[in-house]
């Protein structure tokens, strides 16, 4: 087994384990955090295949927006009593952030694939329709929310 397959297996196992965390956790807030971790690991699998544009999309939209909104929603409607988090948990978080920061800036150059450069032109209509769709959905959501009587 080469090391790439080993890393893929390890990331996949962690993804399944964090997905199981969603199921087994009784607190929705922690379930949402496990879900965000699963999504991050899915993005990591894309990174293993050097699909950097998809990684950026996934991390920005799927993890950065969708997951965070879900976590915020779960925290808002949280019914379980909040646990006091030990401040020493910030130490491993800072170490991981520092390693990621140093690793990123130690890269000499980024070999981003230009394979997808034709996507905006080839699928221009589809992209326009998608943007229109999300605008219509957003307007519809606001309209429905205003129409409902309290």
């Amino acid at each position: 087994m080469n090391y790439e397959l080993a890393i893929l297996s390890a990331v996949s196992i962690f993804a399944v384990l964090t997905a199981l965390g969603v199921l087994l956790s009784k607190d929705n807030f922690y379930s949402a955090l496990y879900m965000a971790t699963t999504m991050l690991l899915v993005a990591a699998i894309y990174a293993l295949y050097n699909l950097q544009p998809v990684v950026v999309l996934l991390v920005l939209v799927f993890v950065g927006a969708v997951s965070i909104v879900t976590v915020a929603l779960a925290a808002t409607y949280r019914t379980a009593p909040a646990r006091k988090v030990n401040i020493f948990w910030s130490i491993p978080a800072i170490i991981i952030f520092a390693i990621a920061y140093l690793s990123y800036f130690s890269l000499d150059e980024l070999n981003v694939s230009t394979e997808f450069s034709s996507v905006p032109t080839d699928y221009f209509n589809a992209i326009v329709i998608l943007f229109s769709l999300i605008a219509i959905v957003a307007i519809a959501a606001v309209k429905i929310a205003r129409r409902v009587e309290l």
């Binding site: 996949s12 997905a19 969603v22 699963t38 779960a74 996507v119 769709l133 429905i144």
Partner: protein
């Protein structure tokens, strides 16, 4: 093979979470997990047709965002009307076994 197995495992976990959900927040979380599984399933498509696979990924992201938007609206409306976000509070839709 590893990717498909992982996607299948995450999808099964998401289905079980959706079935056992007692409130809409957990249902939303399980739906997002299903989308994560879909993202894993389309990785091999990048080896065959990268441009199409990229478009499918964008389509999936947009669908996920729209689903989140609608479900958040539904949760807020349900909370306003029923003062609860429990699944039992949803009285319309779905199938009824007679």
């Amino acid at each position: 093979m590893i990717l498909f197995l992982t996607a299948l495992a995450i999808l099964i976990v998401a289905y079980i979470t959706a079935i056992s959900a007692k409130d809409l927040i957990r249902l939303l979380i399980s739906l997002e997990l299903m989308f994560a599984s879909v993202f894993l399933a389309i990785v091999p498509l990048f080896a065959l047709k990268p441009s199409t696979a990229y478009m499918v990924a964008i389509l999936t992201i947009f669908t996920s965002s729209c689903e989140l938007l609608i479900l958040i609206t539904a949760i807020i409306l349900l909370d306003r009307i029923k003062r609860s976000i429990a699944i039992e509070a949803v009285s319309v839709g779905g199938e009824r076994l007679d």
